[in-house]
Symmetry: none
């Protein structure tokens, strides 16, 4: 089973858009056991698209195509697919009705270019797009499958999950593959590798381990494959049980867990709440926490105090604390936690203060210096970091480490 990915759009060739769609599709296909043979990024150009389709058809069983489905003139993927499969474009009443509803609800006029999005190649099965106006297309030809999706990642991802992957599973006869992701934060890849080297060397046939590093964390993935789903599951469970105790303190969750949601579940269990007081993270932690639906059950909010005045007046950090120790200091973040717990009426708080960069550092407190405090007003813990990355990554690392420290604190408490 081999696949080709074709991403269409001049913006990819000019480098104005980084092609993240291919990596997303590659990951999802790998999870099904489908190997991507080649990724082709090409221009919004008829000859280029036709040539890429022929090349992909020749080499692969499955061809995933993104881009070029918008309502504007440079979007020519649909008409080119119709030409390639020698099939006429016909108006699809279901799509047209959805489009009319879409524009009526938004009180916007439906232009001819919008109505044209209801035209579909007759030979394809339309794939419903709940997040946009360009539907996907599923073509079958001599036992091979071609899928065309919009290039907007948010729309493509929903189409993949809701339509393409389930249909591909059904269409192709695939072996049973089960993955388990073990999520860790705050420890390096080489440290993990050292701890589990013997485990890795002794992995039995049919199971593989992969390291997927990201900012501040490493995801481990166990993948087991075989003919029988139950046997595969047993193999995976047995190895997971061996792996867990080796790195227990670094594991914050599994599969789709996020650190914020793990903390949220724990707080609901404990009947407690928290809030944040953010200086250098500037709202990043609050944003991460509130991305989780239902976070208002355990999270009351954040004071983003970008001035010393706000730290003093809203959070109650004493003026002499800032004067004597500075805004980036252990004493300041301690008082920020106490202040935000009081002001937001929460059991726990997290506070950050640091120099995210690129300027503002001193010899004593270089760019990347960050103080984190966390806990309840009567048991506040602190930790200092010196990150070495860009402003954006320093902010992300601070947020991740603050949440991970707080997660471990809650583990201890409850």
């Amino acid at each position: 089973m081999q696949a080709t990915i074709i991403t269409i759009g001049d913006e990819l060739l000019y480098g104005q858009t980084v092609d993240t769609n291919s990596a997303y599709m590659g990951r999802e296909l790998a999870l099904l056991g489908i190997r991507v043979r080649e990724i082709l990024s090409i221009s919004d150009d008829k000859a280029a698209i036709l040539e890429a389709l022929a090349r992909a058809e020749n080499a692969s069983d499955l061809v995933l195509i993104t881009g070029g489905l918008g309502p504007t003139k440079d979007d020519i993927t649909k008409v080119t697919l119709a030409e390639y499969f020698n099939t006429p474009l016909v108006s699809n009443p279901e799509i047209l009705a959805k489009l009319e509803e879409f524009f009526t609800r938004r009180n916007r006029p439906m232009l001819q270019s919008n109505a044209d999005q209801a035209l579909m190649p007759e030979a394809c099965m339309p794939l419903r797009n709940d997040r946009g106006t360009a539907w996907g297309m599923w073509f079958e030809k001599n036992g091979k499958v071609f899928v065309s999706m919009p290039g907007v990642p948010f729309e493509m991802e929903a189409l993949m999950q809701q339509e393409v992957l389930p249909k591909a599973k059904q269409f192709f006869k695939l072996p049973a593959i089960i993955h388990k992701h073990i999520l860790t934060a705050g420890v390096g890849e080489s440290f993990l590798a050292e701890r589990i080297a013997a485990f890795e060397d002794n992995l039995p046939e049919g199971i593989k381990l992969a390291y997927l590093p990201s900012v501040g964390g490493v995801k481990l993935r166990l993948t087991a494959a075989g003919a029988e789903r139950e046997v595969v599951q047993q193999l995976l469970d047995a190895q997971l049980a061996k792996l867990q105790p080796l790195i227990e303190e670094a594991i914050y969750g599994y599969d789709d867990d996020t650190l914020e949601e793990v903390i949220g579940k724990k707080l609901i269990e404990m009947g407690k709440t928290y809030s944040t007081a953010e200086s250098c993270t500037g709202g990043y932690i609050a944003h991460q926490i509130t991305l989780a639906p239902g976070s208002s059950k355990y999270y009351n909010g954040s004071i983003v105090s970008y001035t010393n005045e706000a730290k003093n007046e809203i959070l109650g950090v004493k003026q002499e604390t800032i004067r004597e120790h500075g805004a980036v200091s252990e004493q300041t973040v301690r008082e920020m936690v106490a202040g935000v717990c009081k002001g937001m009426h929460t059991d726990y708080g997290i506070a950050t203060s640091g120099i995210a960069g690129p300027t503002g550092g001193t010899a004593e407190k270089p760019v990347g210096t960050v103080w984190i405090a966390y806990g309840s007003p009567n048991d506040i813990r602190t930790k200092k970091y010196e990150f070495k990355a860009s402003r954006k990554i320093n902010i992300q690392l601070t947020g991740l480490m603050a949440l991970e420290l707080f997660r471990k604190y809650l583990e201890e408490k409850g």
Copy 2:
């Protein structure tokens, strides 16, 4: 002048690494006026590499290749290039000396696999790599150029700047090409297309228009090309001057501008400050604003009030306002703006309150209902939206629209 980019590595096909190298090379080539015809991502596999090289040679004048130059067994790009160009590998004394120095300085033993990195195809010109142990290679064949570089972005970028781009400028006779990005927010792609349809139809030879849509915004790109740089610039400027008045109210900036930085510059110019009071956006707006270095000059912070208590106690929203109109209401966001300006001592404020989803909606206020207020305490404006996307995208759209409304407000004021 056409180029092909070939990126080599199984991690790209599995989606474990997003191919950012191609976008970097594409951008740099575009600045030289070299059009990338195709990007090919392939496996560390001899047959795949040979086939990709033949395909690229057939279609392009310049072929840039990254990846597969490391010291491990799966790195086979160099031997495959030697085979393709039918040339032997010979040890390069300069590279070998550099390698020995590298390992001596780090007190690490030099393994045979490391020493092998000094082997170079005889037919190539080696390209010095100051940031790593794998040098680049420059091959010429029938007036075409093939360049191989390591896949580590930090090394590839230095090689491009120091070696590849200067050599390519010399080798090829290149036209002048100039791009201009026009950034818009809050209006749809099809609406823009309709407004500028006549402009687009009448674009003269040598200039092209592209639409690059993203969440809540559309980037327009004008690209002009020709023999003389000055003539190209004039052509571009003339068309830009025609385009601007057609969509003036939607344009927030050009090229690398961000909405947050445009607002920041305007506030610095006016000598004013702002702050935010966020309910449904949960810190997202604060995070976007504070990603900009130096934002503390004009931004004082945010109150992320996820509870009615915090809205009342910290922001001063009256209890009866929330009781009578609800937290998601025009009256509440108005009082939030007044409260945050007072509490944070700023001239202006932005407030959001809404139902981000996926649950929490009612018949009267469905998921996606958002109220935004902005302005100074004595001139607060409001607007209501009903977004239809996921929780995450509803949050992003709210943030974008709030900032765009505030930008227009500032335009009017100053």
